[in-house]
């Protein structure tokens, strides 16, 4: 078996204890708390009878180890509980609202990388220049911005004062009809249906929330790119390349940048973590019907199952994303399989 393949399988195997840990934490948060979980699940408006009903239905009077097995069994069959506000299984709610969040997150991340990575590279290759100073200011200021605040300020400036942004009421202005659901991504679905007007309408709604989210992630990505590039440019092997007469371009991109990408890829994992959290805040500000706002609405009405279902689902999503990033890293860095074998 090639060492690379071994490396990939090794990484996947490492994810298993993490998944187990996630399940255990999920269990603790939903069943093994001080107080009576049945009260939480029944909701604020329940009476004693429905609380007792919920208790038996969820098996909350059984010993803990048995509860754990039931819990794991439920998860494996996709049962994340029932939402008291929508009356639907939590997993169905999440599945229907997930594409909205993913579309927003992916567009924001693409935008962010498209700006931050070149900015970091330029700042590193032109030290002391205007670009370098701009990058440093951006990085220091950027990590100080509260996401929800920037969203609010952007709405004030671009919607209220300048009137160029549409009203922050979700994914599509009410005069448009949702495109037929193929992927759930409005941009893709409307493009596939050839509906140009809806495409641009969806895009217009996306702009402000995506920019808000992107601003948040610009800073760590730019900072890491700049640091990694600086490190690579001062490495011994770059000195060898220059001493051998390789052109500045080759040295910067084939030699320095490719090596610098490795730590940037690892940072993306961290950035994803922050983004999935910041998603919740941005969705609230822009009334975006994703899983983040679903969780916030559930919190308001004390829909306990929905909240914890959301937490668990996000964790699994995040584990999957991290695994993807790890595997990508293994493919880029030839040393990994060697160490693992």
């Amino acid at each position: 078996m090639s060492p690379r393949l071994k490396g990939i399988l090794f990484r996947m195997a490492q994810a298993i204890p993490v998944v187990i840990g996630v399940v255990v934490i999920g269990f603790v948060l939903t069943r093994a708390l001080p107080g009576d979980p049945a009260v939480y699940f029944a909701g604020a408006a329940a009476d004693a009878a429905s609380i007792a009903e919920i208790r038996t239905m969820l098996g909350l009077d059984l010993p803990l180890p048995q509860q754990f097995l039931i819990y794991v069994g439920d998860l494996l069959s996709g049962d994340f509980g029932q939402s008291i506000s929508t009356g639907q299984p939590v997993i169905a709610d999440l599945a229907s609202r997930l594409p909205a969040s993913l579309e927003l997150t992916l567009v924001a991340l693409l935008l962010s990388c498209a700006i931050a990575i070149p900015l970091g590279v330029m700042a590193a290759t032109r030290p002391g220049s205007l670009v370098d100073h701009a990058c440093r200011v951006l990085v220091t200021a950027g990590v100080s911005l509260p996401t929800f605040f920037t969203g609010v300020v952007l709405i004030y400036i671009f919607y209220y004062l300048l009137g160029i942004a549409p009203s922050p009421l979700g994914r599509l202005d009410f005069i448009y009809i949702e495109p037929d659901r193929i992927t759930g991504f409005y941009l893709i679905d409307s493009a596939l249906a050839g509906d140009v007007e809806t495409f641009f309408a969806a895009l217009r709604q996306l702009v402000l929330p995506a920019i808000t989210l992107a601003l948040f992630t610009l800073a760590p990505i730019a900072r890491m790119t700049r640091a990694a590039m600086l490190g690579a440019l001062s490495a011994d092997f770059v000195r060898t390349a220059r001493a051998a007469g390789l052109t500045g371009r080759t040295v910067r991109y084939t030699y320095a940048f490719r090596n610098a990408l490795l730590p940037v890829v690892t940072t993306l994992g961290m950035v994803f973590s922050f983004t999935l959290g910041a998603n919740v805040l941005v969705e609230k500000v822009f009334a975006w019907p994703g899983i983040g706002s679903y969780a916030v609405e559930a919190l308001v009405v004390s829909d306990y199952a929905a909240v914890q279902g959301f937490v668990l689902a996000m964790a699994f999503l995040f584990v999957a994303l991290n695994l993807l990033i790890d595997v990508t890293y293994t493919l880029i860095d030839p040393r990994i399989g060697f160490e693992a074998s």
């Binding site: 030290p127 490495a235 011994d236 092997f237 000195r239 060898t240 390349a241 220059r242 001493a243 051998a244 007469g245 390789l246 052109t247 500045g248 080759t250 084939t254 030699y255 490719r258 090596n259 490795l262 880029i332 860095d333 030839p334 040393r335 060697f338």
Partner: protein
């Protein structure tokens, strides 16, 4: 073909401008190898970087010219300079593994250089790269060409670096400390290879090194530098037999070599008479059947296989070998930082191996065996002043750290008292070495283990530290276990010597005898690989 006239280079540092070169001139004729020798801070590397126009951002050429083949090298643009680098003038650096792109195949890296200078196309690059690897005598080049640097040994990485530098047939090769960090035998192999290639291709070369012995073995002429200036020039023979400048004389004296006594390493004025030393018959340390096996994913690693030796009171035993031979593991076990898998360490009649390493720190015998460590920067806590470093053992195991005792120790090791309140980063290499020694002798130990204590020091500082060690031994009656890879140093200091290879003792006996008449082939190859100054080689012939 290369002519440097009055080169001056200035660096802008945080503490103001520093003149790294103050008017350096040199000439390299066609087909000759010039050696540039100097200690740290002499400016030898800066000279090379200036010739190639590879100076770091803070550096600037403030005066002087560099002419190659009649062309002033400050004229070409950066792009044109790129044409010259690699094709006319090439450079190789120390630390070969770090000098190669870790995520790019070796053949691709050579191919990049070949294509840059139009010596190959995309289709022919691989074949040409294989040829370049074969030229540096890498076996099985066709397989190695697709390897990544981490898959190759240190010596092989250095050959790849040489292949890269010579791929486009340059006329001048600059080598900046190419053998530092390599084993002695690998060192010789690499230098012989380079010397052969240079002569076969009719190239010229500049060899930059701190090792005068190495330079004299391979260079036609040598130039000695100090503090950014050229101090003396000459052929190796003339430099060694009739040095003119006092600094050159000091350097030559300080280089450990065959037939020299320890005091002769110092400048004439400092040669006080050797103190009386007494080596007793009574054994202080008896190591019996010491074995250390480490578990690892690819099977057990036998780091130390059944090693036995004795050190008498007042004696110095040398432990010699190349990297991976088990000498560091052995010394770690003797000083009780590591537990042996089996075997006995009998010290003053008691088996120390019976007490596990984790409990030995609080054992009453802890103070009797101490150690001087290798890398003086790493061996001092960056957050402690010299005073705190020396005081630590006194506070923990001794009678307390009185100012008098600390001053007394500083005096013994020749450390000026004001330096006691400085942090390690404010001290020079030699000063840090002294602090390390003061700390080790603070508790008056019976046995001192010295693990390559002078490996990282300049040769003139090394001479001072070695003499200090001899004086301390005579004064305090300590026994030494001296671990080193440098045979010449071991020969100067040690009564007995042990040669290790692959975890076993290959040869042992009186130091002078083992060095002069080695009984085994391995020892013979080690002794042959140690660089010697020419006068002595000639005298011996």
């Amino acid at each position: 073909m290369l002519s440097v006239t009055n080169l001056a280079v200035r660096f802008q540092t945080r503490r103001g401008p520093v003149d790294a070169l103050k008017g350096v001139s040199l000439d390299v004729a066609s087909g000759e190898i010039l050696g540039v020798v100097g200690e740290s801070g002499s400016g030898k590397s800066v000279t090379a970087y200036s010739i190639m126009r590879l100076l770091e951002a803070g550096g600037q050429v403030t005066n002087g010219t560099v002419r190659y083949g009649g062309v002033d090298l400050s004229d070409p643009t950066e792009n044109q300079m790129g044409n010259i680098r690699g094709r006319e003038i090439s450079m190789i650096f120390q630390n070969p593994r770090a000098a190669l792109n870790p995520i790019r195949r070796v053949g691709d890296q050579i191919g990049d250089v070949l294509r840059r200078h139009a010596r190959a196309t995309r289709t022919t690059a691989r074949a040409q790269a294989i040829k370049a690897l074969e030229a540096v005598r890498i076996r099985d080049a066709a397989a190695r060409v697709d390897a990544y640097p981490f898959e190759l040994s240190g010596g092989m990485c250095q050959r790849v670096v040489i292949a890269l530098a010579l791929a486009c047939d340059p006329k001048l090769l600059i080598m900046d400390e190419p053998t530092t960090g390599l084993d002695i035998t690998t060192q010789k192999a690499v230098m012989d290879l380079v010397a052969d290639l240079i002569r076969d291709r009719g190239m010229s070369a500049i060899l930059i090194t701190h090792d005068l012995g190495l330079a004299s073995g391979y260079c036609d002429r040598i130039m000695v530098m100090r503090d950014g200036e050229v101090v003396e020039r000459g052929t190796p023979f003339s430099l060694f037999t009739a040095p003119e400048h006092p600094y050159t004389r000091r350097l030559i004296d300080a280089t450990p070599r065959l037939g020299a006594q320890i005091r002769e390493l110092l400048p004439v004025e400092a040669r006080t008479p050797l103190p009386e030393r007494r080596v007793e018959d009574e054994p202080l340390l008896q190591v019996r059947n010491l074995i250390k096996t480490f578990p690892s994913r690819s099977g057990p690693v036998h780091a130390v296989r059944d090693v036995s030796f004795t050190i008498n009171k007042g004696q110095t035993l040398g432990l010699v070998g190349e990297s991976g031979c088990g000498k560091s593991t052995t010394s770690a076990m003797v000083v009780r930082l590591l537990d042996p898998t089996s075997g006995q360490i009998i010290f003053r009649g008691e088996d120390l191996a019976a007490t596990p390493a984790s409990r030995f720190a609080r054992d009453p015998r802890r103070a009797r065996i101490q150690m001087v460590f290798q890398d003086a920067t790493d061996s001092l806590n960056p957050r402690h002043t010299s005073r705190q470093t020396i005081a630590e053992p006194l506070r923990r195991l001794g009678d307390g750290a009185s100012d008098e005792r600390i001053a007394e120790l500083a005096d013994l090791v020749g450390l000026p008292l004001p330096l006691l309140d400085r942090f390690p980063h404010q001290l020079s290499g030699g000063q840090k070495a002294r602090v390390g020694i003061a700390r080790a002798i603070a508790l008056d130990p019976d046995l001192l283990i010295l693990d390559e204590p002078t490996a990282a020091l300049d040769v003139s500082i090394q001479a001072i530290v070695l003499n200090l060690l001899i004086d301390l031994q005579a004064r305090l009656g300590i026994s030494y276990l001296f671990v080193s890879h440098d045979l010449n140093v071991v020969r100067l200091l040690c009564d007995q010597v042990i040669v290790m290879q692959g975890g076993s003792i290959v040869e042992q006996g009186p130091a002078e005898q083992v060095m002069r008449n080695p009984a085994t082939d391995y020892t013979r190859s080690l002794v042959a690989a140690a660089p010697q100054p020419p006068a002595l080689i000639d005298a011996a012939q």
